[in-house]
């Protein structure tokens, strides 16, 4: 283990309270192998972790899942995080919280609610969520949230099926009373990678979305804040992954493993420590997984001698692994990567598959949209090629 160059204090923590979820979005960022309920951390452990997080310098905590409301102790957890002085953000599907429980959360000190929305109308939104009636329930949940005076963000994962509806999505968020909308393109690892053929938009649509977005930002200025996470397959340079590995944020999984990013478990050979064995402070500074890609010493060319390494940190480790077979490589999304041609080929292959594999549902439970195809065809090239 190499000692960290210099370790700054983290700002944010994503607490994946549970992987249980009533929805089955095909781009879910949870791992393919979901943690079981019986392995989940108990209330007291989470509250201790929240206190350790605050002492370590973390300011904001995102309570997520799965669906965090699946935890019966959610109110106690929010109260514990608020007592620790953390800014608490609940990331929810809006399914499973009634008026009384939401009011109790507000009372316990919840600062902000982030509601996922899958589309603009019931049929399309419910098909992506994998639950009939979910969109209607989300609308009711948004109304409850704003009635309690809680600030609301609507977040939408963008993909081929809803990218053209950008304007309607922003209007929907304004109608729901949101102060902010987060429009983030699907990320292609885990479930998203399995479904890439059915989710990835083409280059022309991505460019058109940019123009629409600029217009919408100007038109809605002062009414709603629009945050946009572009799809990196079409960019010149990669995104600054987690703002630097082990620099600003950490994830805690339902069973207490501490990860530098939500997909880090896809990288073989990384050693993760758990909150049951160590304090958060010790894990942040010393765990091998955090130090593996901290700083710049691990980098290979072309990143090693590139001036942009302080800006994008060489991109995403998980994507480098998925597409080049080595997590240390330059993220192949970067036009300077020797593997970049593969990304271009992927981005410019016409995709016609519309079958979604829903997260966490067995093969028999897969809800097929029109044009069902055999399972093998759903695997993306990168997936089949993976060493």
């Amino acid at each position: 283990m190499t000692a960290p160059a210099q370790v700054s204090a983290p700002l944010a923590m994503l607490a994946e309270l549970t992987h249980r979820c009533p929805l089955a979005c095909p781009y879910c960022s949870n791992p393919l192998q979901l943690d079981r309920r019986s392995d989940e951390l108990d209330t007291a452990t989470w509250v201790r972790v929240f206190q350790e997080a605050a002492a370590l310098g973390i300011l904001q905590i995102h309570l997520s899942g799965g669906e965090p409301a699946a935890r019966r102790d959610l109110v106690e957890l929010v109260a514990g995080a608020a007592r620790a002085g953390l800014y608490t953000n609940l990331i929810t599907s809006g399914i499973g919280l009634d008026q009384a429980r939401l009011a109790a959360l507000a009372e316990a000190g919840l600062d902000h609610v982030q509601l996922s929305v899958q589309g603009i109308d019931e049929p399309s939104a419910d098909a992506v969520a994998g639950l009939a009636g979910s969109h209607r329930r989300k609308r009711a949940f948004a109304a409850m949230t704003t009635a309690l005076g809680l600030p609301l963000t609507v977040n939408v994962v963008l993909h081929r099926g809803n990218l053209a509806a950008l304007e309607a999505l922003v209007e929907e968020a304004i109608t729901l009373g949101a102060r902010r909308i987060e429009l983030a393109h699907a990320q292609y690892y885990g479930w998203g990678l399995i479904n890439r053929d059915a989710l990835m938009p083409d280059r022309a649509s991505v460019i058109a979305a940019r123009t629409t977005l600029d217009r919408l930002r100007a038109a809605t200025q002062g009414r709603i804040v629009i945050d946009y996470v572009p799809p990196d397959h079409f960019a010149l340079y990669p995104k600054p992954c987690v703002n630097g590995w082990g620099q600003q944020s950490l994830n805690v999984t339902p069973r207490g493993r501490v990860l530098p990013c939500h997909a880090a478990e896809t990288i073989p050979g990384l050693e993760f420590w758990t909150v049951a064995e160590h304090s958060l402070d010790v894990i942040w500074r010393n765990s091998p997984a955090f130090n593996a890609y901290r700083g710049e010493d691990w980098m290979v060319e072309p990143c090693r001698s590139c001036a942009r390494k302080a800006i994008d940190f060489g991109g995403c480790r998980c994507q480098a692994l998925a597409l080049t077979g080595d997590a240390r490589n330059t993220d192949p999304v970067c036009t300077l990567s020797p593997h970049h041609l593969r990304v271009e080929a992927l981005a410019d292959t016409p995709l016609t598959n519309t079958t979604l594999v829903m997260r966490g549902r067995s093969a028999q439970g897969v809800e097929a949209l029109p044009h069902d195809e055999p399972l093998a065809d759903r695997m993306s090239p990168a997936c089949r090629d993976r060493p």
Binding site: A9, L11, A12, A55, L56, G57, L59, Q60, G85, Y87, N89, D111, H112, Q114, G149, L150, P151, T153, R179, R180, E182, Q221, G222, I224, V225, D227
Partner: protein
Amino acid sequence: MTGVAPDARPRLLRGVRLSEDRVRGGYTLLAPERVLKLKGTAVAVLTLCDGQRSFAQIVDELAQSFAADRALIERESAALLRDLAGKLMVEL
């Protein structure tokens, strides 16, 4: 719009908190998915934005406690508050 009306009563919107950063020092403004590190003068302005005081009162108080030029304070405070209002963190 650049200025702030003298009788406006600015306040932080719910979900936006002025908070002391005990680990790194100084103060931050915590908002949905945002952490803004605040300079000393910004802390002084925002501490007074309680929805009770008028903007004119706030500027008076600041001019007094910093023994500084009122017009300058007014300009800088208005710029800060306009910026935060545009980000939907402050209501004017």
